[in-house]
Amino acid sequence: MSLILLIEQVLNGLQFGIMLFLMAAGLTLIFGVMGLINLAHGSLYMIGAFCAAAVAGATGSFLLALIASLAGAAIAGALVELVVIRRLYDKDHLDQVLATFALILIFSEGTRWVFGSFPLFLDVPDFLSGPITLPGGIEYPLYRLTLIVVGLLVALGLYLLISRTRLGVQIRAGENDREMIAALGIDIAKLYTIVFALGAALAGLAGALVGAIQSVQVGMGEPVLILAFVVIVIGGIGSIKGALIGAILVGLTDTLGGIFLPEVMKLFFDPSTATSIGSSLASMAIYVLMAAVLILRPSGLFGARA
């Protein structure tokens, strides 16, 4: 277990965490502003990935594919908000869960209908493929490093958007008191559509970026969605900062757990038993982390509400 391997794995965990953040940020924003639990967020991730794969297949341009993923997911998000989601804001959580579950069924089967059951592939562009040598002589895939940088830039952009712009002021006001900002003459329905489309665009971007290192297929969104829920529970609902820290914690725990738990088990068991016990434990590690955070802080690390 060398230092280089450790650094590589930390970077992998960071990359995974940052992508989870893109999902979790949208979810937590939508919950914070509209009080809505959106199970269909994973479908928007999938839509982003499929838009990117389709455009990349047609044009061969990765940048156009990314733009398509942002636009496609944002448009799908805005449409869904206008047609279905806005009828759910004043309903209880059970109705929200069921309606968005119904949306998952419709989106997943609809995508399967249009694109078929076979996975699509989105290639890493030439200028981002291959390894890069980091200081200290570590070789690391350039594309994964790019994902980390892009994700951090998006996080910074989101922070600036929310803390420095007029829209950000409205979003923060919407989290605190929606009647008041409606009374101040802000079109709250339009604000909700914008926030939902923004969250959808982030999910779509994540789908496209991850789609290039995994395959693009129906059902790819839901495992990520559930991990994003774990992130939000750990970070605290409604907190973007909590989402970032929670996402990195979950990413690191999952990646490092998968590598080190089998090794640790080898101290106690023979190698084959150790590998199977270790990998079972590793698949549960983030949920144990979540349970631990819940015991210490039921409202998450940065959650305001209990």
Partner: protein
């Protein structure tokens, strides 16, 4: 407008008459479909105790369904390979006896519900939904990585387990057994909802602060409901595995949790017969729409969306004209 009690009687009539017709007409597949519906109904009655009376929106009930399934799978697997489940600290052997398997399924799923409930009930509302969903996923991935019991591929059991006095390999006899359990569970759920505990739980959903001021602990009430709920869904899981003679991690998947919830919504939340009607309608849709189109989930999704947006009270509510049972 039909009164709800007539509708309930009609449901029981369907449960009795359709399989009898299938025996006469020699349609064993219809009996299997009815068995599937009866077992789904038991699972959903379990969830309905937590969801309908206790207001606990659990998106993780597949955990208990799966534990029941694996209890059957593991015990029967060891029985058919003549190996022991544990040799240490005490010898536990596999079994092919349904009552024993059911008991194990109920005990294990209650224990899991107790632990998950204690952790999850520290939170409420949307946190509770996300946490139960996450625990479901934890069990799902655990089952996938559990290579000893088939991992991702699951476990096949060659011969259906036995029940004293019945030949469970005959479809109508196994259906009769499942129907018997369903009716017992229905009576239990009905008695529970009218019992002091059920009334207190109902109050804990509507006004937790008031319940607390009269000296009852709402969290404890909800925890007990969650454990009972998990136990019933676990029992259904063991029966479902026996119906298919197969268990796989799919039983733990979040889609399974969603489907159990759909049964309740289709029929009507908090209604005694809601889960039964919902499960019957779901199995019928699955069969008819699934035959018409490979993409039948689109239609299921649309139907669900319409019921949630416009039809509070589920199908029973729409037909009987009595809208929501509560709230």
């Amino acid at each position: 407008m039909i009164r709800e009690s007539y509708l309930n009687a009609l449901t029981v009539l369907v449960l009795l008459a359709v399989p009898l017709w299938a025996v006469v007409a020699d349609e064993p597949f219809t009996i299997t479909l009815m068995t599937r519906a009866a077992i789904f109904a038991i699972a959903a009655i379990g969830l309905n105790i937590a969801l309908g009376i206790g207001g606990l929106v659990s998106l993780g009930h597949a955990v208990f369904f799966g534990i029941g399934g694996y209890a059957m799978g593991i015990l029967a697997h060891h029985a058919q390979t003549y190996t022991a489940v544990f040799e240490w600290p005490l010898l536990i052997e596999g079994t092919k006896s349904m009552p024993v398997i059911w008991l194990v399924a109920v005990v294990l799923s209650s224990l899991a519900a107790l632990v998950i409930g204690i952790l999850s009930l520290r939170t409420t509302g949307v946190y509770f939904i996300m946490i139960t969903l996450a625990f479901g996923q934890m069990f799902f991935f655990f089952a996938i990585s559990w290579a000893e019991y088939g991992g991702e591929d699951g476990l096949s059991i060659y011969v259906r387990n036995g029940f004293p006095g019945l030949n469970t390999l005959v479809p109508i006899e196994f259906y009769g057994l499942c129907l018997g359990v369903l009716l017992l569970v229905l009576v239990f759920a009905w008695r529970l909802s009218k019992s002091p505990f059920g009334l207190a739980l109902n109050a804990a959903r509507q006004a937790p602060v008031r319940v607390e001021t009269v000296g009852l602990d709402p969290v404890r009430l909800k925890l007990v409901a969650f454990v009972i709920s998990g136990a019933i869904t676990g029992l259904a899981g063991a029966m479902f595995a026996d119906l298919n003679r197969f268990v796989s991690p799919t039983m733990f998947s979040w889609q399974t949790s969603g489907e159990i919830m759909i049964f309740i919504i289709l029929g009507g939340v908090g209604r005694l017969f809601g889960p039964v009607v919902g499960a019957l309608v779901f199995v019928a849709l699955e069969h008819w729409l699934g035959g018409l189109s490979d993409y039948w989930h689109i239609y299921l999704g649309l139907l669900l969306l319409l019921i949630v947006l416009f039809g509070r009270g589920g199908l029973i509510g729409m037909v009987s004209g009595r809208r929501a049972v509560h709230d």
